[in-house]
């Protein structure tokens, strides 16, 4: 069975994401003949991605077709899948926000998304899809997945699925403690960036005792000797073990990056385990050398530099007519779930994936309309979450429910435009030391160039 679909990528200027998707499509026979629409506001990045995609597909001898546009309505027209990977405000703006926050006494390690703009974008896309392609799936890869997917699934009738790759951290756990990841059965439910290993079986036997043994006999040595070659290499850090001790289950992937509110809804900070994130020295201790995790100044600089190098490399490849793209990009599938899920939904090639969809009873004690990250069976019947049931009470009360409230406050602020909620969020940051500091940083972030729309949206309540 083979079916062709139209897949549109919003924010397609990210070469890594777009070409990974093209590669997976090329390697999926059953989606042969599909059409990919790249949409981005940057003409230049778009042109590069388009050329690379065409050449790669050509080299691989596939029947994919491509188009590029800066007009979202063109991308959404007749789309079967809309993939949103756009980061509206971008990395330079993030640095400017970080500088302002630092001036007000914040150590801003946090993932600083322009959350207001991210929320507005997914809502715009989903609402436009209701008019243009009401039966299409919206696949959300851009952060914050938890907040964005919950908002859009509440506010529109569009089918939404958030995707992330953090859950693959279970493989790193297995590798580090010396077992074959391919023989592991696992489950890690929760919210995006807040997932916990409820099941970890090696050849059918509980492998948690092997984690405990590793912690007892090998962890100290690992922490002393380990040097990360990428910023996200924290799966077996002291931080992860601290979380495991605290909550009783091992965290998976970016669970240490759980964010709450910062000085504005445009700016989020580490909320989970604030004590792991107070300053660079502390982060190096908990997350390891040399970066102290991805969310330090050093880690972010390195990340930005890698990004620039990657763009330069892609540009060079695009400009070199002799380059063999199959060599540059390889010819193996990525570990991304997007294309296999599309294949499952369209061609009934059933599989199990880790998805972000409305809870509807999957995890006990979480409202039905909150998007959870859970295992699901994907087939032509749709995305059907596998029932998880109750999680340990300590985990619920310390890690999941506070994060749920953070999300709800951010969405309430966004939906009502009530500035006092932003102030409350700013005060709620563990880094805030006084009322005036919270007010000061919030107002200065609001007054930044590029925040005009957000600043206008949020008003003080009438009794202020």
């Amino acid at each position: 069975m083979s079916t062709s679909v139209k897949v549109s990528i919003v924010g397609a200027g990210s070469a890594q994401f777009s070409l990974g998707l093209v590669k997976d499509l090329c390697l999926t026979e059953s989606l042969s003949g599909s059409h990919v629409c790249f949409m981005d506001l940057s003409q230049e990045r778009l042109a590069m991605v388009h050329r690379l995609a065409v050449r790669y597909a050509d080299e691989m001898g596939t029947q994919l077709s491509f188009e590029s546009t800066t007009d979202r309505s063109v991308a959404l027209q007749d789309a079967d899948f809309v993939i949103n990977t756009a980061y509206v405000k971008g990395h330079d703006h993030e640095w400017a926000m970080r500088d302002i926050a630092a001036k007000h006494g914040y150590y801003y390690d946090g993932v600083q998304l322009g959350e207001y703009y991210q929320l507005q974008l997914i809502l715009d896309i989903a609402q436009e899809m209701e008019e243009t392609c009401p039966d299409a799936w919206l696949i959300q890869s851009a952060n914050p997945v938890f907040n964005c997917c919950t908002l859009a699934s509440r506010e529109t009738s569009i089918k939404i699925c958030g995707l992330c790759h953090g859950h693959n951290g279970y493989r790193k756990i297995a590798e580090t403690i010396g077992i074959n990841p391919d023989r592991v059965t696992w489950q890690a439910p929760g919210f995006n960036h807040n997932i916990w290993l409820t099941h970890f079986l090696y050849e059918g036997e509980d492998a948690y005792p092997l984690i405990d043994e590793w912690i007892e006999t090998k962890a100290e040595e690992y922490w002393r000797a380990h040097v990360a070659h990428r910023t996200h290499d924290c799966q077996m850090s002291r931080a992860a073990v601290n979380q495991y001790r605290m909550y009783g289950l091992f965290p998976v992937g970016d669970t240490y990056r759980r964010v709450g509110a910062g000085p504005t809804v445009g700016c989020t900070v580490h909320r989970g385990e604030w004590w792991l994130h107070t300053d660079f020295e502390t982060k190096r201790y908990w997350f390891g050398e040399p970066f102290g995790g991805p969310d330090t100044v050093k880690g972010r600089r390195w990340f930005d530099q890698q990004l620039q190098e990657h763009i330069a490399e892609m540009t060079a490849v695009a400009n070199d007519p002799k380059a063999r793209l199959a060599e540059v990009f390889g010819a193996d599938r990525t570990s991304e779930q997007t294309v296999p899920i599309i294949d499952g939904l369209i061609n009934d090639n059933q599989g199990q994936y880790e998805v972000n969809v409305p809870n509807r009873g999957t995890i006990e004690g979480i409202p039905d309309d909150v998007v959870v990250e859970v295992p699901a069976v994907v087939s032509k019947k749709g995305i059907q979450p596998i029932h998880v049931g109750a999680l340990p009470p300590k985990l619920m009360l310390e890690a999941l429910l506070p994060h749920w409230l953070d999300m709800e406050r951010n969405l309430l602020a966004f939906e009502t435009g009530d500035r006092s909620i932003l102030l409350w969020n700013s005060l709620d940051s563990h880094q805030t030391k006084s009322y005036d500091q919270a007010m000061g940083v919030m107002e200065e972030l609001m007054a930044m160039d590029g925040h005009e729309e957000m600043n206008g949206h949020f008003k003080w309540p009438s009794n202020w």
Copy 2:
């Protein structure tokens, strides 16, 4: 109709509480012939209270009878009402805890209850009542009412009602803005020490605009000139107005004293609006001169001194056979709800009161088994909460649900004996600046004289 009942007071050594109750009983004809049992561990205080009660009842010419005991089982035997007003650890112990916390860098303004001991006491009483007097009501006046009542109503089949007087703050609001409190209709639901004015009508018209007008035209002058003559005189403070602006509803009574977890479950700190409670100077600004509210060192010293003076005065009165107690204590009913509620339950003298009982749908979005503070109709049919429905989302997400999670964590820690939850609570305090600080203060508080039982109860989980 007149019915005699047995009312037992646990922690009856508090002369103010016990004699207030005796006075109200004396003035309630329909409870004539009732029997009051005073129970306390302090023989001396018990003897004084007993003598004063007998003489007062005698002067008033009532048929009440009295007994005293240090044996709780005697008090519970055949009781119709058990009133728990005991503060297990007492004020001296509280100062010792405060000193330790201060040494670790905490400004400990919080109401420092030995919460573990308070929880253990209500559970012991309620479980003993299941054996001894299963149909009796347990009336909880001792703090923390929210946590204690939720625990005991979940764990036992005893009918429980928590009572507080904070809701009378609506009268202070009315008086201050210049309207007659007797012509006000009001409603202030929530959790104990976390209640909010949903309705405030003066002669049938919404009186919130009068509050707004007072804030706009008179508040600054009031804050400049006002000097509190008692520590709790904060109903119209800057703090209350800040809360009103933040949440959209005016706080009532001790709502600024909303507490969460501190360095141990034996020690609670201000959680709601931490920014109002950072240090003495800040508290004087927000809560007014000279005390900065009840929970400052100055305020607590004054409170303790008043308590000592009151005991000395009562002792002098008790030792003076010529003293006319009706003159000392007056012959008007107090504003306490206990005796009117007993009268309603026993004699069907129906009334509306502010009670703390399991939610069971009264406030939307709060689990059924969480004790809420709500208006209720009290009659022979029982204590029947009046349906409140939905509260504003902002209030739920910022003031009520975080407090709910605090309570649940404290109860989970108590019930499981999991020391890691105490550490999490300690880390969650906004005053905590590092992991080591949280651990240090917790362990030193645990190791205090008098905390042996608690220290033994809380153990690290097996994977620690």
